[in-house]
Symmetry: none
Subunit: 210 residues, 4 copies
DNA sequence: GATGAATGAGCGTTCATTCAT
DNA sequence: AATGAATGAACGCTCATTCAT
């Protein structure tokens, strides 16, 4: 079995496609542009992916796998809730720098208008972290470490909301500027301080007690 | 037929275009569909707007004006911080139900990939509420009512982040499903309880003291 | 209602499309080629016809209408069977000269491989003449004017077979040459003599008695 | 010719290609499908045939050879004209059932639009049977057994026309349906009766006298 | 000015052909 | 010499934009 498309080229297809989807959305992305920037012919993409949709799904899967890895790395470091949150935030910052396109693509996905498709995507993308966050918070809840009046699933949602906005702030131009507007370049650009602030806000929000 | 477009017709263009853009995204929206549902010809749209992009921007401006109005109404009701937050949240929920298209438009804007353009949009859209929120929090900060270790501008950002995610959850299919995944339909569908939970989380987060 | 496409241009679309389908078959025909040779843009064809298939059907309908007219003109001239046959043959010769593309397209249709579609086309194209021929022959049969041992529907089929081959011989290059090979250019080119020969063969074949 | 492909494989290419061309037409047939069903690679086909067109021509030649064989077998059985005709028809029916693809290939050739090429093909394909039929009829003519007013070459053409339509009716879906439309499924499906009817029509047509 | 039919570049996709292995 | 993955021109079709009316 011979292969003229090297693994690098195959990876380039996904990478460049992800960037294109992230930049222009699903409809706006063009196969010929993707092929060109990946340095391959249009036709060969169809050897690896049935159609545009399947290529898109492959990009999504790749990015989800990456995010899952980042999240599980952060989760496995053990420690108490504050440490876990701190770890999630700092790893997120790294991930956003390494692969901003993943988060931009993710943001594009959330603009999906087809309700059924949107549900499907949400289930794939959100369910794993929802489950993890809810479990952690439920435990802390039962241990009486967080505000008893706060539903742990709502708490998980608010926590994820803040995480998600952080992702966007580090990957999407609009949200990056928004962070600048709110915090000024000095604070916004100081990742360590932003991390501290966010950890504090979240722990406060959950009513966390050591 | 030689007559000028009435103001109603002009408004209809923006209104219908906003719905189309919100529903199908920038690329997915079609000028002929917009013209048809607005009851005008395709050609006349080009008399008022240079191209699709400019029409989109006009819709964006209209949406932003609406959102500003909602927010400033909510803000002007006076009262202390908890009341203001509660008011903002509940007004937002009403607005999201009445005009989800405006919030979806806002969401569309944030996908802008061109950095300069994104900055420009962010400056226009975010600055007013950033200023307002920061002022309120700064005052509370100075009065010692909120966590002294929390930068008031970061606090304003986190607060706005949570607000924004709430908007999305009530207007975009993806985020609606996401809220279901996190909280279950029962809690997610109970707006009053979600409001309570969010107010609590935010006040906690800010370390608010009466 | 304004029209930039004149009736001539609309007719040109059908005419050139018919030629293209006749020349290259359904699959081989290209919309851009048709548009170009008709002097219109590709897009406008889709204003008049939903898709390639519908354009093709319009071409078929046009040619069937023409053939029906030719056949009914020939049929209405009255007279006995020999006269009718003679009339059909000579009118066919004229029709083949005026619109060879109709017959070539018709020949292309018969290569259709999709069984259901082929049935559909056959029903549309063949049924009218089948009915007419069978009626005439049945009457002649009942009057004892044609060979009693010959089923009138089989007789109609054989008659139509010969007619169809005559159409092809006057419109398709292959069949034209075939006629030359069989009869020589002198006889093949002498339409009057070919007509005489064919009338004689058919009347003989049916066992016609005055 | 140096070759690694076995003769079986080479034959398979032609056989499978013929089926594909017959089934889907020239444009519709796909090289990769042919290669796959013949159990060879796409590339090797281009070692034996310059391009798709040349492969098609090779299939045509093979088909023609088969048809010639069938016809000459039928012709060589000797006997008088009625027997010869009956033999040709019944052998044709068998051949059409066994290898409808050959007849469909023949039908495909006749759609050739390029005049010079069409002439060339007609000369190759039609000349032998034309010569044979004309010779037989000329003899019968001279013996006074057939209608003196009928030119024997025209008679041969009409005879071949009827034969050809019979081939089509037994191998091409369109013509099969056409026969049903004319004769009904009962008669059309009864090969023996159709044979009788056709023999009768032809002998009548030629004015044959024993 | 308002109209909407016409335009044509560009889309996703296919497949005859090539060529590195 | 055989392979089959890669190529890229060409397809049917769409839709933002133009312009004759």
């Amino acid at each position: 079995m011979l292969k003229k498309l090297t693994e690098d080229q195959q990876a380039a297809i996904i990478e460049k496609a992800t960037c294109e989807f992230a930049e222009k959305g699903y409809k706006g992305a063009g196969l010929s542009g993707i092929a060109k920037s990946a340095g391959v012919s249009v036709g060969v993409i169809y050897k690896y992916y049935k159609d545009k949709e399947e290529l898109f799904q492959a990009c999504v899967s790749k990015s989800i796998a990456y995010l899952d890895e980042v999240l599980s790395n952060a989760g496995q470091e053990g420690g108490d809730l504050p440490e876990m949150i701190r770890s999630l935030i700092s790893q997120t910052q790294v991930a956003c720098r390494e692969h901003p396109e993943y988060f931009r693509m993710y943001h594009q996905i959330t603009t999906e208008d087809d309700s059924e498709h949107a549900k499907h995507m949400a289930a794939i993308i959100e369910a794993p972290s929802a489950k993890a966050y809810k479990a952690v918070l439920k435990k802390a809840h039962e241990e009486g470490r967080i505000d008893g009046a706060l539903d742990s699933s709502a708490g998980a949602l608010f926590f994820d909301n803040l995480m998600m906005m952080l992702h966007y702030s580090y990957s999407c131009p609009y949200y990056a500027e928004r962070m600048n507007i709110y915090c000024g370049k000095k604070l916004a650009g100081n990742k360590k301080r932003m991390e501290d602030q966010m950890v504090r806000f979240i722990l406060n929000g959950l009513g966390y007690q050591e």
